[in-house]
């Protein structure tokens, strides 16, 4: 997550990245390392959980949010889960989608068949979410094993992580149809990272100044974290419906906009 983001960004030079991607995507996809990376996708959020949740958690002790007391690890774990669902879906639908759209001309080939843009968008999204969901399922398993969530909570949270994946994947796909070049990914990464730090992931948003708090409540990761955390911890309220609705709107809107853009770019 963070480290990968940072490492990718430090070395960022649009022409270099372009060249790397252009010439090496084949090798990347088939190399032995690729499979290890693919399979170990759950590893990063887990390390974050152990470091910040458990390690820093030992310094924090218990946390009281809205009158409910929980361990710091139990507070952070659902946030890491939501972030994992978000970044898993975004990785597939932004960088890879953009690459297929702009360089591999994959979609042009597909569109020569009876497949329609909306179906392409949907297909890409489903693949992204399926892949991401495997990671979130494994991560939920760790949470239950570490006593950070009940089995019932984990079962309830799983569909929520799928929704998070769908929501970010759909919007990410739309955003990547608007990208002018690789440099725009830098901007997107920045936004993604800022959300990662401040969406109530590491400390409750209630601690921020009111203005900041309201601003955060407008951003999508906040709703994802709230929804997943509510279900994992079993502290449910009507607010969760608002969070879920926000994500549903993202999914539908993102898909609609993305397929419209693909149609415009490829069918005209």
């Amino acid at each position: 997550m963070m480290t990968t983001l940072v490492a990718a960004r430090v070395s960022l030079s649009p022409s270099r990245v372009g060249a790397v991607i252009n010439r090496n995507v084949g090798a990347l996809r088939s190399g032995p390392a690729y499979w290890v990376v693919l399979i170990s996708g759950f590893f990063e959020p887990l390390l974050y959980l152990l470091s910040i949740g458990v390690g820093v958690g030992a310094l924090v002790g218990d946390l009281t949010v809205d009158g409910h007391t929980m361990s710091y690890a139990a507070f952070v774990a659902p946030a890491m889960l939501a972030v994992s669902a978000m970044s898993g879906a975004l990785a597939e639908t932004t960088f890879n989608f953009f690459f297929k759209l702009k360089y591999m001309k994959t979609f042009e080939a597909v569109l020569a068949t009876p497949v329609r843009p909306f179906e392409i968008a949907l297909g890409e999204l489903v693949w992204a979410v399926v892949r991401g969901s495997v990671y979130t399922a494994i991560f939920l398993g760790f949470m239950v094993a570490l006593g950070l969530s009940s089995v019932a909570g984990a079962l309830a949270a799983f569909p929520a992580t799928v929704l998070v994946g769908l929501a970010f994947g759909a919007v990410g796909m739309w955003v990547s149809t608007l990208m002018r070049g690789w440099q725009d990914f830098d901007l997107m990464g920045t936004g993604q990272f800022a959300m990662f730090l401040f969406s109530g992931t590491f400390s409750p948003v209630q601690n921020y100044p009111v203005g900041v708090e309201v601003l955060i409540q407008l951003t999508p990761l906040y709703h994802a974290v709230e929804l997943v955390r509510g279900l994992c911890t079993g502290i449910v309220g009507p607010g969760l419906l608002v969070n879920a609705a926000y994500l549903v709107v993202m999914t539908v809107g993102g898909l609609w906009l993305a397929s419209r853009r693909v149609e415009k770019m490829l069918c005209e």
């Binding site: 480290t3 490492a7 152990l50 390690g55 002790g61």
Partner: protein, 259 residues
């Protein structure tokens, strides 16, 4: 003929110049990761989470993690600049082959890259220290030595990673490096919490990591106290990595550029 006497006095310097020029072209792409991100991190974890931590080892949590974030920022820059760009200059840009056709030796390239990165990291380190000063995160004039510690860290990290980048064919190995080396080294090297909290087995991993030694030295400096181990032990360990890494990197470059 002019060419007769033309010999580069400082081939390493010429290599450094190329990197400086590249940095001047591309610095804006790294503003976020080198300057803004560490500050955002301090705000989120140092202030946000720190509010719940209270004090640790006699200081507020923000002051405690300042040296950690400082070192991990330097570490990230080293990793970022020694992976894709190095492999790229071998494989795609082929800049090293161009240098090699000129009177530049493989070792000159290794040294030039290292020096350029030290300069690059120092810019970020100094900017970070200035900002942190306003947060009240520095408690001792010894903080002035942290740039030196970071330079040493750069040498101990850049050289082995460069050697690795010079030895592989596919960049997909970097993903493994990030996931299984870089991220654990960032998260479990005393950046966010004392390594004494870790189970003994994992603590050994922290001790093995150059990041932990640099964090210890920087923390001792910014807080004005003694580091966990004798200073000579921390410094010696970092120097060891730098020396071994340098040997490996020079060998890897020579092997890849000569046959």
């Amino acid at each position: 003929m002019a060419a007769e006497t033309m010999r580069p006095l400082h081939p390493v310097l010429a290599v450094v110049e190329r990197y400086v020029l590249l940095y001047r072209r591309l610095w804006h792409a790294s503003v976020f990761s080198s300057f803004l991100l560490p500050i955002l991190f301090l705000i989120s974890i140092g202030l946000g989470v720190g509010g719940y931590v209270g004090s640790i080892e006699g200081v507020d949590y923000l002051s405690w993690i300042v040296p950690g974030v400082l070192v991990s920022t330097a570490f990230q820059i080293c990793i970022g600049e020694s992976t894709y760009p190095v492999l790229g200059d071998f494989k795609w840009v082929r800049a090293y082959h161009a240098m090699r056709a000129a009177p530049i030796r493989p070792a000159d390239i290794v040294h030039g890259h290292l020096i350029a990165l030290i300069l690059r990291v120092e810019v970020s380190v100094v900017a970070f220290l200035v900002v942190v000063l306003f947060f009240g995160g520095l408690h001792s004039p010894w903080a002035l030595v942290t740039p030196l510690v970071c330079a040493l860290l750069v040498a101990s990290v850049v050289t082995p990673v460069t050697a690795f980048a010079a030895s592989i064919e596919s960049d997909s190995y970097f993903a493994l490096l990030f996931r299984f080396v870089v991220i654990p080294a960032t998260l479990f090297s005393g950046v966010f919490f004392p390594v004494e909290q870790l189970p003994v087995v994992i603590r050994a991993v922290a001790y093995a990591s150059p990041v932990w030694h640099a964090v210890e030295l920087c923390r001792a400096a910014t807080l004005g106290r003694e580091p966990t181990w004798p200073i000579a032990a921390h410094v010696g360990y970092l120097v060891l990595w730098a020396v071994v890494g340098l040997v490996l990197a020079r060998r890897a470059f020579k092997r890849r550029l000569e046959d």
